[in-house]
């Protein structure tokens, strides 16, 4: 297996892009990543996306987007793993390069969600749950996460307001990220007064519906210097999953898939939770942040909210998370998110994170979760 490096990054701002289509957004980030790596040709394109069929009437995305980007005569395909689609596309690229099947590969994540009303988007997102066991009965993703949060608060005697720190931190970090959708601070008071969506989840526990695309160019580490002075090594790449239906799990407050995915990535990188300098979790809802921190080994069960309370997750803390705003403030263009996370860690590792730069940052971890803790893709990046 060859070692793999990231040599180019490109991203569109996360917005409600009323005037840009799915294809245009994807092409923007692909060409920008290729320009960053100074390459004019690549060997393959893997596109991570979840809802192009439901929300853009388009499948066969690999070919459609390669065509639009002018990347003829290359291998193409779309990778779908619900909200982890972008990260799964990167993993597909890594497998291809590491195994020697491809040399220079673009991994693109893209989602265009705002052409439809919330009901339609929610229905689309709910297809990531188990249709027979869950969706058929009317539960939405917000509903599933609300069940988890309610149970968490009950079991661990945690109050809703204890989750505020995650949101305050994410928005604070999003202010200086030009790519972020919501660049406004959120106060503890605003969090506590937020409108309820599905009890106990409020509007400010939840990430927004939005549009965006992000891409990275990867190649064998041994060739990385052809493209950049500062390659970022991918030392861990893993995908694991657990029972899709939440009710079928042994312990709904322990994300088994997150645990397995993190452990595999730690083993590959020869690292443990203590070695990770920054972590980009899948903070689609505050409860997911808490459960992810615990299953990854950054906090004991029921104690993740303490990390926020004690300031350990801020840029100057022991484990900075959502360093460029996370899903909450930067936004969660579903299939794009996994690549946005990786790009943000690349920026931190290369010292290019501007005002949000974390000091002495050499090992970073990203994690994308598809479904209610179901499919989990973890990456560890190093310089």
């Amino acid at each position: 297996m060859r070692e793999v490096a990231i040599v180019g990054i490109g991203q569109t701002p996360v917005r409600e892009h009323w005037d840009r289509s799915l294809k245009q957004l994807a092409v923007d980030s692909i060409l920008s990543a290729m320009a960053d790596a100074k390459v004019e040709k690549v060997d393959a394109l893997y596109v991570g996306n979840m809802l192009s069929y439901e929300l853009a009437g388009q499948e066969n995305l690999g070919a459609v987007i390669a065509d639009q980007a002018g990347l003829y005569d290359i291998e193409v395909s779309k990778i779908e793993a619900a909200c982890a689609s972008g990260a799964a596309a990167l993993r597909a690229g890594i497998i291809a390069v590491a195994g020697g099947a491809q040399e220079v590969v673009v991994c693109c994540g893209v989602e265009k969600m705002t052409d439809f009303l919330t009901d339609t988007v929610s229905q689309g997102l709910a297809t990531a749950a188990d249709w027979e066991a869950e969706t058929l009965h009317g539960v939405t993703f917000c509903g599933l996460n609300a069940l988890l949060m309610q149970r968490y608060m009950y079991e661990y005697k945690v109050k809703h307001e204890d989750f505020a720190g995650f949101v305050v931190n994410a928005h604070q970090n999003g202010i200086s990220n030009e790519m972020a959708m919501y660049r406004n601070p959120i106060t503890f008071e605003q969090y506590n007064k937020a409108v309820e969506v599905t009890a106990p989840i409020t509007l400010l526990d939840s990430c927004p519906i939005c549009d965006g695309s992000a891409s990275v160019v990867i190649c064998p580490l041994e060739r990385a210097k052809e493209f950049t002075d500062k390659p970022v090594k991918i030392t861990g790449s893993s995908c694991a999953y657990e029972r899709v239906a939440v009710a079928a799990r042994k312990d709904i407050l322990f994300f088994e898939g997150v645990y397995k995915s993190a452990q595999k990535a730690y083993q590959q990188a020869g690292r443990g939770p203590k070695d990770i300098n920054i972590f980009e979790p899948h903070d689609a809802f505050t409860i997911i942040t808490a459960l992810s921190l615990e299953a990854c080994g950054f906090a004991e069960k029921g104690k993740a909210v303490n990390l926020a309370r004690e300031g350990k997750i801020s840029l100057g803390g022991e484990l900075p998370i959502t360093t460029m705003g996370g899903l909450k403030s930067r936004g969660h263009p579903v299939g794009g998110t996994g690549i946005y996370q990786v790009i943000e860690v690349v920026q931190q590792l290369k010292g290019q994170a501007g005002k949000n730069q974390v000091k002495d940052c050499s090992v970073g971890m990203t994690q994308s979760i598809g479904g209610a803790g179901t499919v989990v893709v973890t990456h560890i990046l190093e310089v």
Binding site: E16, W18, D19, T114, L117, T118, V195, E196
Partner: protein, 347 residues
């Protein structure tokens, strides 16, 4: 867009039904959080766009004692036509005594149908085709039960008589229209309630069109926010017109006299017209008013009016908008509300 003959508003009248409905009732009924407007004006069981348009037009005529036979055109802009096919305007024209030597038609352009009628009235007079033309924007705003729109849909509107500049209480310096095909809100044929595009109705629809029209007319006339005493914008809720005003450089006090949505809700095609009427109620000679509508579909009409000395003689002739706001009877029962709004009908 300038007429060959200078024109202006020679009189105006307004109408708001007396019934008020607290939106907290909607929050309770539908289990939703509180909306942006505390209460809405709603039509009584025997009121509709036509009866309300007749009221407003009669007030406009009464204000200056104009012989209705001299009105050469009656145009009604509305989204809530009692007849799908058959003009509302003919009934209004007949009721005010303007028939039969008159043009009449209904205008449809969602919430800017009223200003479309105003612009056409100005053109009719401004081309010499008519001495006087009557433009009305009036609505009993429709909304799906439980929809976001139900929390803002109100009833009311205003009527403006256009004539030559010399007779006007506010002459028209300039007007301008800005239109694109933007489907942010619509009602399909044979369906009772409109559909809307959620957040799409904000930035790409309301703000893009309203701000573009406002900026363009300010550019054409060489005027900026400080050159105006008042600004009236289409008001689907209190937030949009306030924010639009701020983005254009207006101060809250320039907008406040014509901002009625916090008290009665969104009167759709009547919205910017009734705001204009309320502004004229307080305006003084020499003052300048910017008026910009917005209609879904989508577009904006912009007008620059300058108030003349003649406005003083009109004060107190008919009840001002404020008296309609103060004339109120609360109906805080969803069942009655649904009957008044014709959302349910006796079987």
């Amino acid at each position: 867009m300038k007429q060959q003959i200078p024109v202006g508003i020679i009189s105006y009248g307004c109408y708001i039904p007396r019934y008020r409905f607290k939106t907290s009732v909607l929050s309770e009924v539908w289990g939703e959080s509180l909306g942006p407007i505390p209460e809405l004006s709603i039509p009584g069981p025997d009121e509709d766009t036509i009866t309300m348009a007749i009221e407003a037009s009669s007030m406009a005529l009464r204000k200056i004692g104009l012989d209705p036979k001299k009105i050469r055109a009656v145009w009604v802009g509305t989204e809530s036509k009692p007849y799908a096919v058959k003009p509302s305007s003919t009934i209004v024209a007949e009721a005010i005594g303007a028939t039969p030597d008159v043009s009449a038609a209904d205008f449809e352009f969602a919430c800017k149908a009223g200003t479309e009628a105003m612009q056409t009235a100005a053109a009719f007079v401004g081309s010499g085709m008519a001495e006087y033309a009557l433009a009305i924007g009036m609505d009993t705003a429709q909304s799906k039960p439980g929809d976001t729109l139900e929390f803002t849909a109100g009833a009311g509107g205003a009527a403006f008589i256009f004539g030559k500049k010399e007779e006007s209480i506010a002459w028209l310096e300039e007007s301008y229209s800005y239109v694109t095909d933007t489907p942010d809100f619509f009602r399909r044929a044979n369906l009772p309630f409109p559909e809307h595009g959620g957040r799409f109705t904000g930035e790409p629809a309301y703000f893009t069109h309203l701000l573009s029209a406002a900026r363009k007319i300010m550019e054409i006339t060489g005027l900026s926010a400080k050159d105006f005493d008042y600004a009236v914008f289409h008001q689907p809720n209190p937030k949009f017109p306030s924010l639009a005003g701020k983005m254009l450089g207006f101060k809250p006090e320039q907008i406040e006299p014509g901002l009625l949505s916090p008290y009665i809700g969104n009167t759709y095609a009547g919205s910017s017209l009734i705001g204009m009427a309320a502004t004229l109620d307080v305006a003084k000679p020499g003052q300048r008013i910017l008026m910009v509508s917005f209609g879904s579909g989508a577009g904006s009409d912009a007008f620059v009016f300058t108030v003349t000395d003649k406005i003083e003689a009109l004060k107190g002739k008919t009840p001002p908008v404020k008296s309609y706001l103060n004339r109120r009877k609360e109906v805080n029962d969803y069942g009655l509300y649904a009957i008044f709004q014709k959302k349910i009908k006796r079987g």
